[in-house]
Subunit: 140 residues, 2 copies
DNA sequence: TGACAAATGCAACTCGGTTGCATTACAATT
DNA sequence: AATTGTAATGCAACCGAGTTGCATTTGTCA
C-alpha cells in the first residue's frame, strides 16, 4: 500500500475528504525524489483539461504540511518548495542546473557537532537547517 | 580607523560617492552585532527629520552587498537581514525572542563534515548555510 | 563655479502568497 | 437515490517585500 493511500485513509477518518487536488498532490510528491515549487506542483497536478486554482494549491500544501505529511522548504531567497515528509535530512543545491538533492542528516558526526554547539553556546537547539550550494557531477 | 571609513575611501577611489545613506548604513551595521532587517535599517539610519526612501535603502544594501562589504541573510521564510561582512559563520536563531547570534563557522569538525559530504556525494561545495533554531539562555 | 555621473525620491509595478465570500462537491444518513 | 452538512474550490481583491523607470538632486572633480 502506498503512503498516499494510507494518508488519505487517515485523513478520511478525521473528517477530511479525499479531494482530487489532495490526492494528486500527495501522489506527485510521493513519487518525486526532490522538492517541488508551487508553480511546478500547480502545473503537474493538472489533469486532463482541469487546472487547479493557485489558492487551492497553496491551501492544500499548507493543510498537508500542518498535518505533518509534507514539509516546506526555503532555500535562500527562493520561493517555497515542498516535499514528502521523512527522516530529517539536508540538501545539496546545484547552482548550475538548480537541482536539489536530499542527503542524510542523521549522521553521528553531525549529532556531535550539534551537541558541541549546544554546549558551547548554552543554547537549546530544537531544529536546524543546512544546505550546501555548489556544483553537481554533471554541471562541474 | 574604522572599517566604515576604510570602505568609503575604497569606494571613492573607484568613483562611488560618500553619500549620506551609504555612510549611515555602513556605520550602523559596523557597530551592530547581529543582522538587521531592511525596515529596521530604514528606521535607524533616519537622521534628524530626514528619512530615506525604501528604494534607496534597498539599492544601497544591494550595492554594498555586491561589493562584498555586506552580507545578505535569509532565515526561513523571513525577510532579508543584512550584516557586515566577516569570516564565515553560522547562526543561532532564538524562536523565543527572535534574536540572531553569530557563531564560529570555521571549526575543524565542520570542515571535516563538509569534506565528507563532498566525497560521498560527488558534489563540489562552494558555499553552505547553516542555522540552528531553538531557545537562548534567557528564553529557555 | 560648472558639468557630469552617481545617488535619491516617487509612483507604479511585479510576484509570491493570503483572505473573504460565494459556489461546488464529497460522503454520511435517511 | 435524495438530502444535508461541511470540506474543498474558485474567484477577485488584496498584502507586503522587493524592483523598475524616470525625473530630480547632490557629490566630486576639473
Amino acid at each position: 500500500m502506498q503512503k498516499t493511500d494510507q494518508i488519505l485513509t487517515e485523513l478520511r477518518k478525521e473528517g477530511s475528504r479525499q479531494s482530487v487536488a489532495r490526492e494528486r498532490i500527495l501522489r506527485l510528491l510521493e513519487s518525486h525524489l526532490s522538492p517541488l515549487s508551487v508553480p511546478e506542483i500547480e502545473r503537474r497536478i493538472a489533469v486532463d483539461s482541469r487546472r487547479f486554482n493557485k489558492t487551492t494549491v497553496y491551501r492544500e500544501l499548507q493543510f498537508l504540511s500542518g498535518k505533518g505529511y509534507l514539509k516546506e522548504l526555503r532555500l535562500r531567497n527562493d520561493t517555497a518548495l515542498y516535499e514528502f515528509s521523512g527522516p530529517h535530512h539536508h540538501h545539496l543545491v546545484c547552482i548550475g542546473c538548480g537541482a536539489v538533492k536530499d542527503i542524510d542528516g542523521e549522521t553521528e558526526s553531525w549529532h556531535n557537532e550539534e551537541r558541541r554547539v549546544e554546549r558551547e553556546e548554552n543554547f537549546r537547539i530544537l531544529e536546524h537547517s543546512l544546505e550546501f550550494f555548489g556544483l553537481c557531477a554533471t554541471c562541474r
